[in-house]
């Protein structure tokens, strides 16, 4: 049985003449312990699908099954990592990470033990009294990740979890994420538009097309972990997915993809300061 199954999900926005059918009969199955990435161009409906799985919004048609049970609304069985982190700015790292544990019946002792374990995992030990505005982008990202993992959700959902970081920090964090997932062994559904990220982290990549969000490619990434970026097979996978992503844009071709990438680059934040990169590396 699949850990997570999405069955015939459709979603449209607007009404009358301006109706926009973002998802049209989308389905997929994810096995227990699998790291699956949903790769697709901006605007193809990745976030919409992921938030439907999370229960933040309802599908017009179709269901989401978690271990065979129909889900309804958000719950701690599905952890979520937001692109904007959504750490509570009025809580320090400690209280942010403890928050999910305080919502369930967990003894104070167990909470402390789990907290220490998570902070160590995220290289945040000693940082528990800092507030989000005092953290670098990478530290915020890792705090958000371990907060989502705190109560061992059945599935972890991540929406462009590294999208707010610059190139170097993203590479670095990909390695750390991989290490964390090799330890925590959780089923993951991640959304990204970054081919490199998809290949580095995933067991399987689903390429989503524009127009209805149908899955146009389902590619198993058969590489040993921890992943090496230099291998020939790694580059082969990247090439295959780059092509698939181009096709997914509906024949719009390379120019559209390039325009999209340039747009994404412009939207990015200015490069991180030296200190911020160092803070990130201290975690290594």
């Amino acid at each position: 049985m699949s850990k997570l199954e999405i069955k015939g999900v459709s979603k449209q926005f607007g009404a009358g003449d301006t109706v926009h059918r973002v998802l049209d009969d989308v389905g997929m199955r994810i096995a227990e312990g699998e790291f699956v990435t949903l790769l697709g161009p901006s605007g193809c409906g990745k976030t919409t699908l992921l938030t439907i799985v999370a229960g933040f919004q309802h599908a017009d048609e179709g269901v989401v099954l978690l271990s065979g049970n129909v889900t309804d609304g958000p719950g701690p069985d599905r952890g979520f990592v937001f692109q904007s982190y959504a750490l509570f700015p009025w809580m320090n790292v400690r209280d942010n990470v403890l928050f999910p544990m305080r919502q369930v019946a967990m003894s104070a002792e167990d909470q402390e033990r789990r907290l220490a374990e998570l902070l160590a995992l995220a290289h945040l030990s000693g940082k528990e009294h800092l507030y989000p505005h005092q953290l670098s982008g990478g530290m915020k990202q890792r705090t958000a990740l371990v907060r989502a993992l705190a109560c061992s959700p059945e599935v972890l959902l991540m929406d462009e979890p590294l999208g707010a970081l610059d190139y170097q920090m993203r590479m670095l964090l990909q390695g750390e994420l991989e290490a964390i997932f090799m330890r925590e062994r959780v089923t993951v559904l991640m959304v990204t538009h970054d081919v490199e990220e998809a290949v580095f982290l995933s067991d399987r990549v689903l390429v989503m097309g524009l127009g209805g969000g149908r899955i146009v490619r389902d590619l198993k990434i058969d590489l040993p972990r921890p992943r090496q970026r230099k291998s020939e097979r790694y580059h082969h996978y990247k090439d295959v997915l780059t092509d698939a992503l181009r096709d997914a844009m509906g024949g719009a071709g390379l120019e559209a993809l390039e325009r999209l990438e340039m747009g994404a680059a412009q939207a990015e934040l200015p490069p991180l300061s030296v200190e911020e990169i160092e803070v990130g590396m201290m975690g290594q």
Binding site: R78, M91, H133, Q134, L269
Partner: protein, 219 residues
């Protein structure tokens, strides 16, 4: 979302903008140095003295010295102090009612479109009534005691509190609610851990306005 991400990142390492804003308008005298204070009080006294000398008529503008003497006399007069205490008590009571009504109602209206659609027309029409127009009605309702005064203080206080609470709740990023719910938070926990801390600064602004409006309305 792009913009807010940038803002959050840029504020890393320095005082968050929110905290800075709070200090800056935290107290009128908070950031005024002693010299500046003496200077401005001095200027006021000199202008006052000159103006009073110009008119030289107690009824139009008393001299500063005479006013200060009257103030000193009032401060040691037990009756004035008792009246001051009574007024202060009324303002605080009315303010408490305004908080008790305004904050929960504002939260409900901020959180639920349905509640807002139902309650907004009532609030908006009541808000248009000039405050003095209530006076005769309240005397009929409550008689001549403390009732009318309390009602008026509550009335002038409830709207700034209500509106700022609605705005405060409205401005909370949906991601915070989604995050809390996906971590298993109950409604009560969301109010305590998300709504109040996130909307708190806005509610305080409204409360400050309500306090001064209440004080003005009894004088």
């Amino acid at each position: 979302m792009e913009a807010s991400r940038g803002a959050v990142r840029r504020s890393a390492g320095v005082t968050p903008p929110q905290a800075r804003g709070k200090q800056a308008n935290g107290g009128f005298l908070g950031w005024v140095s002693r010299q500046q204070w003496i200077l401005s009080v001095g200027v006021i006294l000199i202008v006052w003295q000159l103006a009073a000398a110009h008119y030289d008529a107690e009824i139009i503008l008393p001299y500063p010295a005479a006013t200060l003497k009257a103030l000193a006399a009032a401060l040691v007069d037990p009756e004035t102090l008792i009246n001051l205490g009574i007024t202060l008590g009324r303002v605080l009571t009315g303010f408490a009612y305004a908080l008790i009504i305004g904050v929960p109602l504002g939260m409900a209206m901020g959180a639920s479109k349905k509640v807002r659609r139902v309650v907004s027309p009532i609030v908006d029409s009541v808000r248009q009534v000039p405050i003095m127009a209530w006076v005769p009605l309240t005397i009929v309702w409550f008689g001549l005691g403390d009732g009318p005064t309390l009602f008026l203080i509550t009335m002038v206080g409830v709207f700034p509190i209500l509106l700022s609470t609605i705005a405060g709740v409205d401005n909370i990023s949906p991601d915070f609610f989604h995050a809390a719910r996906s971590m298993g938070a109950s409604k009560g926990s969301i109010i305590k851990n998300v709504v109040i801390p996130a909307a708190g600064p806005d509610i305080l602004t409204g409360a400050r306005l309500a306090m001064s409006a209440g004080w003005m309305s009894v004088i």
